[in-house]
């Protein structure tokens, strides 16, 4: 192929990619609009769900306040430092609930009822469209709750530097990606383990290790929560970045986080092939 033709080919591929990204963004925008329309249709249900989610997840940091109020606590950690970790966990969970946690429930439901065909006949990535279609505004209350505790905790610790903030943002995003990996693995399992709605509870329990300072756990647990199922990245490491407690080990943990996400994506794509539908 001549250089001129190669150039044309590269331009064609780039323009195709640009078109694809634009199309995916348009689809996402349409899905957000639909989510808003659905939320506004059932206003009371929307408000109730927001409140229930907020109450359910906000009680946990309050327990921390009570523990510290009674004189107990986590050795080496002030109440505001622990609240910082837990508020980051709450915000991360809220973002996950709004943007991609729906993929878990909708996959379970579709596999069980044999409706997956309706998504598989669309010329778009199945994971993406399921995430987009299950976009939910209900996590917004939870996010605001988490953000409020985050602000309170932040005003009671030393002001982080710009570098710390940059580290925090990067690690927070990676933590959200770990949550995405967990959601995809759970969703993928439902292709084989049909109708088992308890799977998310198991992962929910494992995920809760990410709510605490890692230094309170034995080394084996820290290894598991940092390397095997890196739930520590959801809140602990981003908080550690803001607290100036980040050291070299954070760089060791980043790679397993990406591997975890890639494994989730691979497993989901592989398991779609096993979809069998239901009797007609």
């Amino acid at each position: 192929m001549s250089n001129k033709n190669k150039g044309k080919e590269v331009i064609k591929i780039r323009s195709h990619k640009r078109f694809r990204i634009k199309r995916y963004l348009t689809v996402y925008r349409e899905c957000v609009k639909v989510a808003f329309a659905s939320a506004s249709t059932y206003r009371l249900n929307f408000l109730l769900n927001c409140t229930i989610m907020l109450l359910g997840d906000i009680i946990f940091p309050l327990i921390t306040v009570l523990i510290y109020g009674s004189g107990a606590g986590f050795k080496g950690w002030t109440v505001y430092e622990v609240l910082l970790i837990q508020s980051i966990f709450t915000m991360s969970t809220a973002i996950a609930d709004m943007t991609f946690h729906g993929v878990m429930w909708v996959t379970m439901d579709m596999v069980r009822n044999g409706n997956m065909e309706m998504v598989l006949i669309l010329p778009i990535d199945t994971m993406f469209i399921l995430m987009a279609r299950t976009f939910s505004f209900e996590g917004i209350g939870l996010f605001i709750g988490g953000l409020t505790i985050f602000m309170v905790a932040l005003f009671n610790i030393s002001a982080p530097s710009i570098l710390m903030w940059l580290q925090f943002i990067a690690l927070f995003i990676i933590g959200v990606l770990v949550m995405l990996g967990i959601a995809l693995i759970m969703a993928a399992i439902s292709f084989k383990w049909i109708g088992n709605s308890r799977i998310p509870e198991i992962f929910g329990s494992i995920r809760s290790f990410g709510k605490y300072p890692q230094s309170i756990f034995p080394k084996s647990v820290v290894f598991a929560t940092s390397i095997l199922i890196p739930v520590a990245m959801i809140a602990y490491y981003p908080a550690a970045a803001l607290l100036g407690r980040c050291n070299w080990e954070v760089f060791v943990v980043i790679l397993p986080c990406f591997l975890f996400l890639l494994f989730g994506i691979y497993l989901y794509r592989y398991m779609i092939r096993l979809y069998q539908g239901v009797g007609g």
């Binding site: 199309r23 249709t41 006949i121 979809y275 539908g277």
Partner: protein
């Protein structure tokens, strides 16, 4: 016309589990489950020509839906090959499904809480349809289906017939060359059925190929030019609808109301298949006697006040095909 679909030795096997009923069996099934291999589709081959309407028929559990799901690329075949417009549905799925449409009568693409027009807009984004094409196609199909009045109402308040019309629009907005229909008229009243059949005819006239699975033999008689019959996963018939009618020979059904009851009719090639007082249903074999000759001989033997001549009912032919396979 060229083949637009070529299916060769298509097979789908899967494993399911068997357990008895009752508490004891349920308890047993917690620890031991008997695996049962199922062959849903067994070595099925057929072709579909461009611009055709083909009906895939079969009793419940015959493998029709499994076949259509494999053709749409949503199920992976165990073996065999499928070629649709040069695509293998299981490879490069996204590019393939861009070229096809599908309507599953018992499942919905529409979003429940919002009006169909918003669901259409979602598909516009998914398929990357230009504003001009979208407006033209929506306007054309809305007129054909007369849905302008209700596409702006929430889907959940629409009747089944209205929803099904919207499902068709949803599946065809991107102007697919091939459309798969899995029992599209299930549960619909005759007016909605006719409206959908007219729509299919019109879109077929404009070049769309349809592959239709159904239990409704009227759908097949009204729409299909060619028929594939599958029973217990095996193809038992693959030919034109005209040849399907000739499976039991070239026969006509003659219904008579006699003025006086008769014992018998002695006409070669004619046999009474049902008798209720003065009402007679007679089967006439056209390979033995023409309708003209039959009528002449009939008037010599009896007098009648009413007569109607019909095709052999499709139910009879299909039942004969199913039952001959069971006997084999």
């Amino acid at each position: 016309m060229e083949n637009i679909i070529t299916v060769k030795s298509l097979t789908k096997r899967y494993t399911t589990y068997k357990r008895g009923s009752g508490f004891k069996e349920s308890l047993k099934a917690l620890f031991f489950r008997k695996k049962v291999p199922v062959i849903a589709v067994n070595d099925v081959s057929f072709n579909v020509k461009e611009g055709d309407i083909i009906g895939i028929l079969g009793p419940n559990g015959a493998g029709k839906s499994t076949t259509i799901k494999m053709l749409t690329g949503t199920l992976y075949p165990t073996s065999g090959s499928i070629d649709v417009m040069g695509y293998n549905p299981t490879k490069n799925r996204k590019a393939y499904v861009h070229q096809i449409g599908a309507v599953f009568g018992q499942k919905s693409q529409l979003i429940w809480d919002i009006p169909p027009v918003d669901s259409f807009r979602m598909n516009k984004a998914i398929y990357g349809i230009s504003d001009k094409d979208y407006d033209e196609r929506l306007s054309l199909m809305s007129k054909l289906f007369m849905v302008e009045d209700f596409i702006t109402r929430p889907t959940r308040v629409l009747s089944l017939g209205e929803r099904m019309k919207c499902e068709f629009i949803m599946a065809m907005l991107h102007h697919p060359k091939v459309v798969f229909l899995d029992e599209p008229t299930i549960g619909l009243d005759i007016i909605a059925k006719n409206s959908i059949r007219d729509f299919i005819h019109e879109m077929n006239r404009r070049g769309t190929t349809f592959i239709l699975t159904t239990h409704d033999l009227e759908d097949v008689e009204e729409l299909a030019r060619n028929v594939v019959i599958i029973n217990k996963g095996v193809k038992v018939f693959d030919d034109s609808i005209e040849n399907l009618r000739k499976v039991l020979g070239a026969k006509k059904i003659v219904q008579l109301i006699l003025q006086e009851a008769v014992e018998n009719i002695d006409i070669p090639g004619a046999s009474i298949i049902e008798r209720q007082s003065v009402n007679l249903t007679v089967s006439v074999d056209l390979d033995i006697i023409t309708i003209n000759e039959f009528m002449a001989k009939l008037s010599q033997q009896c007098s009648f006040s009413d007569i109607s001549i019909k095709e052999m009912p499709m139910e009879t032919i299909i039942t004969h095909i199913y039952q001959s396979q069971i006997k084999e």
